[in-house]
């Protein structure tokens, strides 16, 4: 088909140079929410939180939040405001006991907290780099605690030792454990001309016997727990499991019954996002296989 040979040349090279060179699109990506100010909260939340309006949800309530940074604010108002800050999040990713924290493994990027409290929350930026994927579940909770840092370092070292043999050629198996379907699109995009993971020696494989990496999406449905386990157990060692997306990390909006895939298979790398962009998934693959350190 000569017509396709010509059409293939039409746009020149569209493939990203990342990770060898930075990519503008990856760097400008708006990621999960992060805590803007490392605010040590002055009170213990238990006290008068009952005074908060239980119906409040969504950005409409923004104006009623007391300013917790003001020194003259009454303690009761502060505590009520913090309960409201927690309530901003539909998936319970915000925790305001003692210190304000966001669990990016629960963040579905709805942006309500950023809209309501731009003084406390902001979008993280960039889809790539060590901060865009976590090698330990608790590393998704920002800002990180000092003890988390040590655990993350240990996890990183253990992963690196395990995957030392995988650096040049990596075969990936994908399993959907109850995703909404969008994660599959973003993974599929890695095979397209823009991301083209073949250039990095990464290939998707039909057979789990050939797979080094297991990419898992979805909230971990009852029906997929068995097939997911069987797939994992059938893979040869050493193997790496990447949980793709907020649903896989925590169940996202379904977390009252489905809590992610970590219970079924031992996850090594977490990529937050609902869904994470292709660069985020690519970044996790590169981190998991030691191509980027």
């Amino acid at each position: 088909m000569s017509i396709w040979a010509l059409r293939g040349l039409r746009d020149g090279v569209v493939t990203t140079r990342w990770p060898a060179r930075p990519d503008e699109y990856a760097d400008s990506w708006r990621g999960p929410v992060t805590v803007l100010r490392d605010s040590v909260l002055p009170v213990d939340r238990e006290m008068p939180a009952a005074s908060a309006n239980p119906e409040m949800s969504g950005a409409e309530g923004a104006a009623t939040f007391p300013d917790i940074s003001g020194n003259g604010t009454a303690r009761a108002d502060i505590a009520a405001g913090l309960a409201d800050v927690e309530r901003l999040c539909p998936t319970g990713a915000i925790e305001a006991i003692g210190r304000l924290r966001v669990d990016q493994g629960r963040c579905i990027l709805c942006g309500r907290c950023v809209a309501a409290r731009p003084d406390l929350f902001a979008w993280s930026s960039g889809a790539t780099g060590p901060a865009a994927a976590a090698v330990a579940r608790q590393a998704l909770i920002v800002p990180e605690e000092p003890e988390t840092d040590a655990a993350v370092e240990a996890a990183r070292a253990a992963l690196a030792a395990r995957t030392a043999a995988l650096r040049r050629s990596v075969h990936v198996r994908h399993v959907d454990a109850g995703s909404d379907g969008s994660e599959e699109w973003e993974i599929q995009a890695l095979l397209g001309p823009v991301y083209d993971i073949h250039r990095l020696g990464v290939f998707f494989t039909a057979s789990l016997r050939h797979a080094d990496v297991l990419l898992v999406t979805g909230a971990g449905t009852v029906g997929m727990t068995g097939p997911l386990r069987v797939t994992y157990e059938g893979m040869p060692d050493p193997k790496v499991v990447i949980a793709v997306g907020t649903d896989a990390a925590s169940g996202g909006l379904l977390s009252d019954r489905l809590t992610g895939v970590d219970g079924a298979v031992p996850v090594d790398v977490w990529v937050p996002g609902s869904p994470p962009p292709p660069f985020g998934i690519l970044n996790a693959l590169v981190i998991a296989t030691g191509k980027l350190r």
Binding site: D11, R173, H174, A189
Partner: protein, 476 residues
Amino acid sequence: MTITSNEPSVSALRETLNTRIAGGDRFAGVFAARRNGGITLSAQVAGPDGIDTVDTPLPPGAASYPALTPVIGAAFWYERVIHDETGIIPEGHPRLAPLVAPGRPEDHALPRHVAGYGMFTIPHGPVRSGVFESMEYLVETPGEAIPHLNMRIFYKHRGIAARFAGMTISDGVLLAERAEGIASVAHALAYCHAAEAIAGCEVPREAALVRVVHAELERIANHLDVAMRLADAAGLAVATARFALHKERVLRLVGGLCGSRFGRGVVVPGGIAAAPRKGSDEILAELGPIEKQVTADAEALMGTSSFLDRLRGTGPLTQARAREHGALGPIGKASGYADDARVARPYDAYPLLATVPARQHSRGDAMTRLRVRFEEATEAFRLIRQALICFTERQRLTLRAPCDLPDSRATGWAEAPQGEVIYDLTVEGGRIARCQPRSASFHNLVLMHEVFAGDILTDFPFIEASFGLSVAGAAL
């Protein structure tokens, strides 16, 4: 406009549905819900003015009711879901195996529906080669032909409908967007249309225009995805890469407008959350080259004989079956049954925009389905251009009407790339008491049973891709 009516018994319901279907209306679904202390069957019928709901309370303590499936074939899967979720037996249902509930291990023995020399069953899934959503096809074959196909979708059942109960109205949109991730905008629209019908609020004109832009961009991305998968199935590497590139550009454009590559967070009850981050001129300038290239590549693809040979006559759905089942979206259109919600029951800014009447098709094969998708994409580009020209940028735009919800119930709908999506929403005390989504993927997927007339195993990827459905939306 929707009407909710009541029938005293299931036999009266059957009668009403039969009369309406004979009068040209379309059976759109049936589900069971706990209402007023008992189980109520709610059947949905799409008519010229809207989607009507016919409620039938079952007698207290009823363990069964006379099934609708023997008279209305399209209820086949719906009644299996009713059985899975409530345990009530639709009496006379031809095959009451679990559909969305994982079921007992003995339900999962490889089925044998066709007996004969050399017949065997290929279990294909739930973990399949390539990047696919989880589902299992059970292909009964003597080697090449496919006399029987069975599908198991329960692997992905997430309990979306049950999760809605108790959520706030604004949280409900977030869940609707994730019911079928590749049709986020359409699901959010159908949900919000139901909420807006309850509140009786009018979506501001500019918000309605932005909704159309996002819904049509989603349609283009989905149709490009199908074109890519079909080209991939035929082994056309360059065509696959070209359509993947176009799709990526569309997703990046969507991401540039709202921050999410799937248009999430745009649609809210009463309007939209924020104006697009790019001006109309900027969007048009970005969209122009994409449209030009998509058109040229679509033309090249539809002129590649080695590709068309694989699609022509593959997976045919007859016009009679499409009409009888009420096939939705491109699958219905390709088989001469076009009931497009944007035209038949228009919403948002669609009444303001000029639509070109869709071409009539009748062949119903994979090639015609792809042709319909390319025509829909062309129309989508045209609608987006019109919507952007109508969109006036001003300093103080009203993008969201106040939307207070009294205790009530309403039905909302929208045309997803896969076909019509319906949401039946009940609000009590400012929260969702019950919300039942119905995706086109669920309604259409069952038709895959019937399109393997004379087709062989190697046609399978073409037929599956040409349907262009999402398992997430089907299993919910």
